[in-house]
Symmetry: C2
């Protein structure tokens, strides 16, 4: 008998029929003897419908009132799911974020959870009820409604699981787990039974399709076992936990990739302290997020400085760099929108040499040129020409034998 | 400079264009130097949409979760109206019922307001903000969301006006005031500039189309001046206040009528104590509301007992009466679904004789037979054959010179 927090996203509760299916699944867990707390999102389409109304009345709807508006989406779902459970004979009680005092800061539209009052939930669980909580929302100390921003419902689920010291936090979605890579690119991609928080974080570009990175960080911080699984098919999904000695360590867990990037290089900048800040300061000031940053050794007192940004920010970043180029008397600015990033990720990498060489050899064997390399403790990323993305991912998947468990 | 509470119903906020018009009207009052608190209903159609979803998931949706569901309707409106006001440069803050602690009992779906915390609202008004409050909803002492039942938004507005000691509570609707009778029946019907709470209560059958009776009772109890006026046209509407010496008293204020009634008679029941309770007890037990009750003097130790019910309840009431008839050894049960009730209402009636005789003469002059009569301090009601309803109302309107101010 365990305490399980389950989260169902917008697609999983998108129609009354699907809400009924969710109710059945919840009852199944109850019948197996588990206590269940359910976190739900707004029905798919509802948030956009509400934002559409707001956009008709305001040029830039945001802030406090948008949170009042959007939080109704999850409130509708908690009531409907509770009614569905009651209809099936399962006692249930719903709570909005403010009702269980999911206390956040007052950063409207992107608030952060600070504290949760679990008293009501514990009392209901003791009374053998299913507790249904609205995801994505909370309130600040003054009682103003706040929302958590994109993927907030995942964060609500993890925060509740942490507060309740739940045995597992299950994130139901439309995929049945985390794969060694995207099965649309590599048909042999294999679902991972387990993965560590760190690997999941490094697989962000893959994982973001499955799970919001913020909720993984949260789960890692409070050591909440996270399980990603499908609302629509049976199966154990993928369990995301902290690294344990007992876990069998594969060298590499997966191949992540990202085709939304663009790279920019400012060539021939003076090789002296403070130059990186002079380049990245104006970029950051425009709220452009920078991913990889590369600066190699210089020649003749100058060096080349390269970084990648989201492809949508490419033109803005180029314009800024042109100005900086003049100011720094650098040689020239070049850029490329047609790049892709491929990463091999695995905690096993820490203790094994040769991963990099296997990776580079596999790409070379396919005549794929590497234009940038960046490494972390458990990840090696390369930037290649966009047209080689699929070929590169398939080659690496095979080189590391990921199709075999 | 006054403090005004305004309430806009579902039709008045039914589209984003209408919400924009409401915002303009509110700003007009602000520009005239008044403090404004606005109470809004759900956009028209929204409550039915939500109930439709609930009905798909539950055979008899009601209770706590239905309140969680329905209360989202007004929450959407408060956010949209606040955004519209902000877009027009008018600072506004919205509150759900629970946020301003509109404390109710825990009778879900038909809760009663017990107390309101006006602290936040007063602070916002002092800061020159418009305050927008969700009608129809509150919370119980444990923080559970409650709704007030039909017409609840009117009640919210009156309760807020009472708590804030507002100078006036304005109920915006789709009619421009209270009329001497229904203008569709009598084209000469005249809008009343003023009417007393008591008259408004007795005009229930007319008034219900304009204003929920419960909110009138509430306004009367706390002596809140109520004004009914149109969202769509200009005009002063009708002011509903307590009777004042300075008010010019017309004999009769209006002619109310109701065509939704049916009458039932149980003939030849034993004329002895307790018999009325034996008849009405089983009727009440079926939640059938009884309007008029008539029992005249008896003959030969038996009497006839007649009452009226809503026409929808006629058949159920007949079945119950047949059973009672046997139990009491009464002679027989008769009934008529084709009746209508016409009432003349006016506080002036108290101090003037002859109202009844004017009424009965006017009906007799049109050959309208009266089958039941019932009187109160400020009302005389008669039941007539349904087909004479319009003719009777027109005759009485003319007999009391209601077309003249």
């Amino acid at each position: 008998m365990a305490l399980i927090v389950q989260k169902y996203g917008g697609t999983s509760v998108g129609t009354v029929d699907r809400i009924r299916e969710v109710a059945k699944k919840v009852i199944q867990y109850r019948n197996d003897g588990h206590d269940v707390v359910v976190v739900v999102s707004a029905m798919s389409g509802e948030t956009n419908r509400l934002l559409g109304l707001a956009n008709e009345l305001h040029d830039h709807p945001r802030g406090r009132e948008v949170d009042v508006l959007l939080s109704t989406g999850e409130q509708v779902t908690i009531a409907l799911l509770s009614l569905a459970l009651e209809q099936m004979g399962m006692p249930a009680t719903s709570y909005t974020g403010p009702q269980v005092r999911i206390l956040t800061d007052n950063a409207h539209n992107k608030a952060r959870i600070m504290q949760i009052d679990d008293e009501k939930i514990r009392a209901d669980l003791s009374a053998a009820k299913v507790v249904v909580v609205a995801g994505f929302q909370g309130c600040d100390e003054l009682g103003n409604i706040t929302t958590l921003g994109r993927g907030g419902s995942d964060t609500t689920a993890v925060a509740l699981a942490a507060a309740l010291k739940a045995d597992e936090c299950q994130i139901y979605t439309d995929v049945d787990g985390v794969y060694t890579t995207d099965p649309r690119v590599v048909p042999e991609a294999r679902r991972l039974d387990r993965i560590t928080f760190e690997e999941m974080l490094e697989m962000a570009s893959l994982g973001a399709k499955v799970l919001q990175i913020r909720s993984v960080e949260f789960a890692s911080k409070y050591n909440v076992p996270l399980r990603v699984l499908s609302s629509f098919t049976e199966g154990g999904g993928t369990l995301i936990t902290s690294e344990e000695a007992s876990m069998e360590q594969a060298l590499i867990s997966g191949i992540a990739f990202n085709r939304d990037e663009a790279k920019l290089t400012i060539e021939g900048v003076p090789d002296q302290p403070g130059v990186a800040a002079k380049i990245l300061g104006p970029i950051a000031a425009q709220n452009i997020e920078v991913d990889m940053i590369i600066q190699n050794i210089g020649h003749d007192s100058t060096t080349d400085f390269t970084f990648t940004v989201h492809r949508n920010d490419f033109q803005t970043a180029m314009n800024i760099l042109q100005k900086i180029c003049q100011e720094l008397s650098a040689r020239q600015v070049t850029g490329d929108e047609k790049i892709a990033k491929i990463s091999v990720v695995g905690v096993g990498m820490r203790s094994h040499a040769g991963i990099a060489s296997t990776m580079f050899s596999a790409l070379a064997a396919e005549n794929i040129n590497i234009s940038m390399i960046s490494t972390s403790e458990i990840k090696i990323s390369v930037v290649v020409d966009e047209k080689y993305l699929e070929l590169g991912v398939r080659a690496l998947h095979k080189a590391f034998n990921l199709e075999q468990a």
